[in-house]
């Protein structure tokens, strides 16, 4: 379950990255439609950033530890 949740969030992260660098977020010389009251690239970029941050949060929760090893303590 833990690994499945992590894989899903990792794949979602890759897809979001792909969308961010595609025409939906960075179309050339296009300002409208505005998103969150901002020009398209800025508004969509902000939405992407927030979704990515959410995925980092989910991945941090579910990323499995290496082959069942305990968390490392560098002391």
């Amino acid at each position: 379950m833990r690994k499945y949740a992590y894989t899903l969030s990792f794949l979602s992260f890759l897809i979001l990255t792909g969308i961010t660098f595609g025409p939906l977020v960075i179309p050339k010389n296009i300002i409208h439609p505005s998103i969150l009251g901002m020009p398209r690239t800025l508004g969509a970029g902000l939405v992407m950033s927030m979704l990515m941050a959410l995925l980092v949060f989910i991945s941090a929760k579910y990323l499995p530890t290496n082959s069942g090893e305990k968390d490392s303590e560098l002391k």
Binding site: F21, P27, S49, M52, A53, S72
Partner: protein, 468 residues
Amino acid sequence: MSIWVVGALYLIGLAIASKMARDQQTDEATSFVLGGSNLNVFLGVLTYGATLFSTFTLMGMPNFFRVHGVGAWIFLGVTDVAMAYVVLVFGLKLRQRFKNKGYLNVSSFIKDQYTAKWTPTVYLLGIFLFLIPYTAVQLKGIGEFLEASIPGHFPMWGWASIMLVIILIYSSIGGFKAIVYSDAIQGILLLFTSWIIGYLCLKEFSSLENLFFALEKSQPKLLSVPGPNNLFTFQFLISSYLAIILMPMSQPQLTTRLLAMADDKKLRQMAASLAFFSIIIIFPAIFIGLAGALKYGEVAAPIFWAKTLITDRPELLGAFSVIGLLAAAMSTADSQLFALGNETHILFKNDPKKIKTHTKFIIAIFALLSLLFAVYAKGDLVPLARLSFAGTSLLAPMVFLPVWQHRKQHGPLLPLMTLMALLLFLSAYILKIIPSTVFHLRLDLALLLALFSVSLFCGKFQSKELHL
């Protein structure tokens, strides 16, 4: 008047930080160079953030929005959140690799993981080449800014020397932990100052709609990519994205902070918090920069900074801006100098008892070198610093390979290719004696992709099993 009061408060804060750090120190080497590896999430986020963002948050980013437009958010806002993902995944792997052997720096780790004994030299060459000029540019930039903002006191080199002396004092007293505490002070100061200035900039236009409406009428190119100067092209954005997200692997001052977290759970929480912190700290730059485009669109960057951050603001806020920038420059410079000092242990016979003395000595040498660079180097310095993150990203595959395949010892192919890539990068972007594109692809992007391909090839086919 306010500036001296805020400056004195900042110095008192640094003195308290050094005292606290010294009180927590033990005789162990990790205590001085990694702060005992016991950072909590709050300190972890602030020290990583302060080391990463520096003066660029209050000066560079707003100016990017002012001159190149909204694509600046993709350039840095999106990439810094993505970097938090690399902090998480790479950081956990890195800690697993480091914990068994008790490595204190990246150069010792790669020395053990490659057959070629000269591999750490390539790594050290890469970081010296780009980090010393970067530190020097910070000192020079803030020195000149302070010379202009507080006239009649010190010249640029005087301010730069004062900053270095303060850094040397508190890093010698409290080691890495003192730097972490000073980063925390700076991070809070930077966040507080940039949000207030961002709010005041937006308030001048009453609302978000008014700001964007005015921009669309007068400078519409700022509201889309690639921007008025054609900077934010697809290739520029993607190569910057790759170079920036690799910084936890390629920049030792950031790698060290992943090792300094108390445990893996704290690292996970730190990575998640860093993602949100990045958005929060960069967000006000949008308003500072775009409002600046309307008010000060035609002026040079130093005039824009002086007006937006100081003269247009109430005296106390202007004082916080100046000291905030000073603190930001110092927190980046101290982390880089300390990381350079820590990485260079490998050049000495590793006597754990002498690590503390060596680090202090090497930091003092690098501080002096940075000051000399800041004072005497002319135009050549700026391109090296500007290209710092792209240049050091070429070192990332060499660090990535042994973290990914740690049970194998790797041959000389990747270090050799990395050395060649560094030379090609310098020839194209600094010396400008070869083209900076290959078949319509940016050279930095092509080199990075080539090095990662080589590292994957080496990991699969070129490495010998290590008998651990």
